[in-house]
Each structure stands twice: as structure tokens, then as C-alpha cells.
């Protein structure tokens, strides 16, 4: 991948009505990259995107395009285009005129416009819809028009704010594949906002996980999934068992009432940590004194696999397996040292505090200790 930086955000802060919405965003976006902002509702994804688009001015910090500061450049002079969440198609114009809107502003010749619009409608599979009124199109078709309209200006960077949010699951999946294809074919940068982790993982080159106005982790989907930097990312990226633990020494951790070998090091002696184990990394084996033993509480068929809840002491483990043990039977919970992910506790983060609180509550009532979806 071409490693030219096309957009840089440096120490961006933004406040609304006394509430800090962005707390120091630092981010480099490279040419031809598919970047996804992923995070829960209200974490500042849209605000960050709008700062890049030029619709919001940051309180402090710089926005750079190709190394040039553009804080004060208005949206209509930036080489980016946006696909808005609710499409924002112009209702008084038909499909053709919507797509041609940007070119008309540039006073292109009619023949040039016609050719370009046709090319764009081809790209989004909407040939033959030129004369339709946009208000009579289905949600998916409107979405395509919005994409064609934004791409018609040949932006260097396309911003997409939850573009598939309003579509049903089937259509979402199709559009995900199509968007990815379009991005690869046009070789431009996509900055994509979503709160759907699966969408983020399947489409992106780089995932930016945000929470509470702070970037939690930046990495490839594989990095983010396999090496989450903290319990928040682990929790957000997929279903996980998160257990409180204590690091005794390098490669030695205590949790769930036992000592385990692991592959992490560099922690203080007796440092409290979070231990994350993915449900699909756990294997169910016959009970023995070499593994944690527990009672099968429930088995739920999930299509590809079974979701098995096993109680061992006060902990409730979530396990994914293609074989279903019997409810009420005792089984062993087995995993390898590589499956154990050790994470530093995030003392300052409010959301982590919330997570902790939740875990304590669950432990207190004898519910799902340390298991978070």
C-alpha cells in the first residue's frame, strides 16, 4: 500500500455546550486506504468526519491535507466529498441531475457531464434510472445515487457516515462488497463511519476504534481483533470473556482461581490486569484437574456454532463450539497460552469504570461474571 499521508489530524479538540466531544484526536490517513471509524453511539465519529469534511471547525488542533493546514478552508474548496447518512439527495432534482450537480457547478460541457454521469450510474448499477424522481427510489437505490453523486466530483477522499445504516441486513452485505469494489477500482481513500464491528472488520484496511472522544486503538482488522489493547476494544470488537487477573511475573498470570502460562510480559509484579479469552478459542474437553471444570448451564444453537455457557466458581464462561455438550453435565474448559490476552487496566476511562461496575454487579448477583458480549 502507498504510504503517502493524505490527511493528518493533530491534537483535535472539540467541545459542544461545555461537553468535550473530542479529546485530542491524532490520526494519519494514507492515500488509497480504507479507514473505518468504529465506536459506540456518541463517541465522536460523526464529529471527526465533519471536521475532515469542513462542516465543523475544531476548537484546537490542526487538520492537514497533503501536509497543508486546511482548518479554515470551507467545505466547497476541499477535495473531499461526503455520502450523508440519510442520503441528503435533492428532492427537486431527478437521479441524473442529482449526480450531475457537482459537474454543473464546475460549468462542464453537457457532453462531458452526460458521459461522466453515465459512468457513475454504471459504477453503482443504476443505468436506466436517470429520469426517475429520487423520492420514488428504494433506500438502497437512493444510497447508490448518493454514492454516485459524491464520486462524480472525483474526490481524493470519500467520507461515508454510516452509509448502510438504514438498509436491511441482506442489502447491507451486498453494498459492503460493492463499496469495497468501488474503492479498489477508483483507488481513492475512503473514510467510513460505522458502529457495526463486523462491517468494520470485513471492509477496512485500517480500523480506528474510538470511545468517549478518544482513539482507543488504530490497526488492521487482524490487529484489532487478535491484539486488542484494552478491555474496551476487546469487548467492542467481538464477544469475549473478560476476567480480572493478577500478573505474577512475565509469562505467568493468575485468574479464575488458578495460575496459567501466557505469552505476555512487561507487567509489574502483582499488577492487576484484564484477561481476555475469545469464546471461539476455547475447547471443551472431558473434565480433569489440568483444566478449569464447570457446569454447563445452557446451550444455544447459533447457526454456525453453539453458544455454550459454563459456570466455574463464580465465573460464567461463554464458549463457541460446533459440538453441543449436555446441559447439566460437567466439562473442562481448555485453552492454550496463545489464547490468553493480557490487558492493562484502563484506570482513567469512564467507560472502563462502567464495565467494571457491570462486572461487579454481575458477580454480586451470581450472574455472568466477567463475560461481556
Amino acid at each position: 500500500m502507498d504510504k503517502n499521508k493524505i490527511i493528518e489530524l493533530k491534537g483535535i479538540f472539540k467541545e459542544y455546550n461545555g461537553e468535550q466531544v473530542l479529546k485530542g484526536i491524532d490520526l494519519d490517513i494514507h492515500d488509497k486506504e480504507f479507514v473505518t471509524f468504529l465506536g459506540p453511539s456518541g463517541c465522536g465519529k460523526t464529529t471527526t468526519l465533519r471536521i475532515i469534511g469542513g462542516f465543523v471547525t475544531p476548537d484546537s488542533g490542526d487538520v492537514l491535507f497533503n501536509g497543508r493546514r486546511v482548518n479554515d478552508v470551507p467545505p466547497y474548496k476541499r477535495a473531499v466529498n461526503t455520502v450523508f447518512q440519510k442520503y441528503a439527495l435533492f428532492p427537486h432534482l431527478n437521479v441524473y441531475e442529482n449526480v450531475a450537480f457537482g459537474l454543473r457547478l464546475k460549468k462542464e460541457k453537457e457532453s462531458v457531464i452526460a458521459a461522466k454521469v453515465a459512468e457513475m450510474l454504471d459504477l453503482v448499477n443504476l443505468r436506466g434510472f436517470e429520469k426517475r424522481s429520487v423520492s420514488l427510489l428504494s433506500g438502497g437505490q437512493q444510497q447508490r445515487v448518493a454514492i454516485a453523486r459524491a464520486l462524480c466530483n472525483e474526490p481524493k477522499v470519500l467520507l461515508l457516515d454510516e452509509p448502510l445504516g438504514a438498509l436491511d441486513l441482506q442489502l447491507r452485505k451486498e453494498m459492503q462488497i460493492e463499496l469495497k469494489k468501488i474503492q479498489q477500482r477508483l483507488e481513492i481513500t475512503f473514510i467510513y463511519v460505522t458502529h457495526d464491528q463486523e462491517e468494520a472488520l470485513t471492509m477496512s484496511d485500517t480500523v480506528v476504534v474510538m470511545n468517549g472522544g478518544v482513539i482507543q486503538q488504530i490497526g488492521t482488522p487482524q490487529d484489532i481483533y487478535n491484539e486488542p489493547v484494552n478491555a474496551f476494544v476487546a469487548k467492542f470488537i467481538g464477544e469475549s470473556n473478560i476476567l480480572p487477573g493478577i500478573m505474577h511475573e512475565d509469562y505467568k498470570v493468575e485468574f479464575a482461581g488458578d495460575n496459567f502460562e501466557c505469552v505476555d510480559k512487561g507487567f509489574r509484579h502483582l499488577e492487576p490486569v484484564d484477561v481476555v479469552i475469545r469464546p471461539e478459542d476455547i475447547t471443551i474437553c472431558p473434565p480433569s484437574d489440568k483444566v478449569i471444570n464447570g457446569l454447563v448451564e445452557s446451550v444455544l444453537f447459533k447457526g454456525v456454532h453453539y453458544e455454550i455457557m459454563v459456570r466455574a466458581y463464580s465465573d460464567l464462561w461463554k464458549i463457541h463450539s460446533t459440538k453441543a455438550p449436555e446441559v447439566g453435565s460437567v466439562v473442562g474448559i481448555d485453552f492454550t497460552p496463545e489464547d490468553i490476552h493480557i490487558m492493562r487496566k484502563m484506570e482513567s476511562s469512564e467507560d472502563y469504570a462502567a464495565l467494571e461496575h457491570l462486572n461487579e454487579q454481575r458477580a454480586g448477583t451470581g450472574e455472568e461474571a466477567g463475560t461481556v458480549e
Binding site: 467545505p75 466529498n81 450523508f84 440519510k86 457547478l105 420514488l136 466530483n153
Partner: protein, 273 residues
């Protein structure tokens, strides 16, 4: 049974509302000057009407004033609505209430106070004062019609236009204005109707040479009601009716196809129930 009672009731209401107007229209074709005896059908009163210089002069006044005042009120009202739309909530509420005041205020108070103001400012009562007065009471109607259209508009539309390369002014012209056009048109037509209709405020703000139609009719009826007035009123009624129908039809056209179908279906269902 219940349905029948409902229908009779509605029928009676409409009857009482429209009987006076139908009596008037019928009388405008009555050959006799008497309002109680029907002596035959005639167009005479209409012919006479179109030879009455006073009436024609004031009709022209009314139309010119209505047109000028409505155009000005539409421009001002639209700009005001946009300003109000972009205000903070508290300011918006205050400003909106102030601008609706001329509607809520008794007309006679508006009329008298405008007259006092004009006299105090030493503006001679005449066309100018009439037009100013009419603009004053028309602006709220325009605001009232444009503001909801702005609220309905997706805020992102304006941003989308900027995003595609429009300067703020251009985005406004190419996207916002077309979106709120139905509201502007309704506001304009309402202004025209209210301006033609107005008597009380015009009465206090007109000059000797700038009588509007309602004022002329009023001064004519003070002597004796000439059947010409019937003819004139009939024409006015038909014209206003036509404007109302145009307004409603254009509103219907603006509804997207499927919405209209849904509305029609709902209406049909309601009719059957």
C-alpha cells in the same frame, strides 16, 4: 343512522355558511333593484359595474396594492423565516411571538396605531401608507408558511450542496429555495387574498385618492346597496375561490406520488367506514 345524522349536520353547517353568498350571487342576476322580488335574469349589473369608474379605479388600486405588498411581504417574510430558523431556541420563540403579533392583534388596533404612526412621521396617507400597512400584516402569513417547510427540510441538504462545491449563497439558491418554494408560494397567495380582503386596516391608512375596493363598497352601501355591488361581490367570491382551489391543487401536486396514493386510499377507507 349515526352517519346520516352526521351528514345532515354537516349539510346544515355548509348551508348556513354559503346561503348568504348564493343569495348575493342570485341577486346579482336579478333584473329588479329590489332584493326580495325576482323579476327576471339579467347581466345589466355586470355591464354597469364595468362602466363604473369609481369601482374600477378602486379595483385597480386594490390589485396593485395587493401585488406590491405581497411581493414585498413574501421577500421579507422568507428572509425572516430563514433568520428565525437559524436562531437559538429562546430567541426564536421570542422573535416568533413578536412577528405573529399583527395576526393576533385586533385589526382595528393595528389600523389605528399604523395611522397614528404614519401621521406622527408625517407620511401622507395614500398608496405608500396602504402598501406599508398591507406588508405589515402579510409578513406573518409568509413566515407562518415558510418556517414549517424549513423545518421539514433535511439540514444535510444544505451541507450536501456545499460538499459538492456550492458557495453558501449558491447552495441557498440551488437547494434551499426550491425546497421551501411551496411554502413561499402559499405565503404569497395568502398575502394576496388577505390584502384584497382587508377593510379595517386599509380604512385607517388610505388617502383620498387611494381607496381600495372594500372601502368603496362600504361607502356605496352607506347610501343604498346598488346591485352593482352584488355583481362585484360575486366576481370577488369566484376569484378568491379560484385562488384557493389553485393553492390546494398545487399543494396536492407537491406530494410525492406514493404519499398521494396513500392519502387517497385512507380517504376511501374513511369514506366507507
Amino acid at each position: 343512522m349515526r352517519k346520516l345524522t352526521n351528514r345532515i349536520y354537516i349539510g346544515l353547517v355548509f348551508l348556513f355558511l354559503y346561503i348568504p353568498i348564493f343569495v348575493l350571487i342570485a341577486n346579482s342576476f336579478n333584473a329588479s333593484k329590489s332584493r326580495t322580488v325576482w323579476t327576471g335574469f339579467t347581466f345589466d349589473w355586470y355591464v354597469k359595474l364595468f362602466h363604473n369608474e369609481t369601482i374600477l379605479g378602486s379595483l385597480l388600486n386594490t390589485l396593485i396594492i395587493a401585488l406590491v405588498a405581497s411581493v414585498a411581504a413574501t421577500l421579507l417574510g422568507t428572509l425572516a423565516a430563514i433568520g428565525i430558523y437559524n436562531m437559538k431556541k429562546v430567541t426564536r420563540t421570542i422573535v416568533m411571538n413578536i412577528s405573529y403579533l399583527p395576526i393576533i392583534n385586533p385589526e382595528i388596533v393595528t389600523g389605528v396605531s399604523l395611522m397614528l404612526l404614519f401621521v406622527a412621521m408625517k407620511i401622507e396617507l395614500g398608496y405608500v401608507t396602504l402598501i406599508l400597512a398591507h406588508i405589515t400584516f402579510c409578513v406573518p402569513y409568509v413566515i407562518l408558511n415558510v418556517l414549517p417547510k424549513l423545518r421539514q427540510m433535511d439540514r444535510n441538504l444544505y451541507e450536501a450542496a456545499l460538499d459538492l462545491g456550492c458557495t453558501p449563497t449558491l447552495a441557498f439558491r440551488k437547494v434551499v429555495i426550491p425546497e421551501i418554494m411551496p411554502g413561499i408560494m402559499t405565503g404569497f397567495l395568502m398575502s394576496i387574498t388577505y390584502s384584497i380582503d382587508d377593510f379595517v386596516i386599509s380604512y385607517f391608512t388610505h388617502g383620498a385618492t387611494s381607496q381600495t375596493l372594500p372601502i368603496t363598497i362600504f361607502s356605496m352601501t352607506r347610501r343604498k346597496v346598488s346591485p352593482e355591488v352584488n355583481a362585484l361581490s360575486a366576481i370577488l367570491f369566484v376569484v378568491i375561490l379560484a385562488i384557493m382551489i389553485i393553492m390546494n391543487v398545487s399543494e396536492m401536486r407537491k406530494l410525492p406520488e406514493d404519499q398521494r396514493r396513500r392519502a387517497a386510499k385512507a380517504a376511501k377507507k374513511g369514506g366507507r367506514a
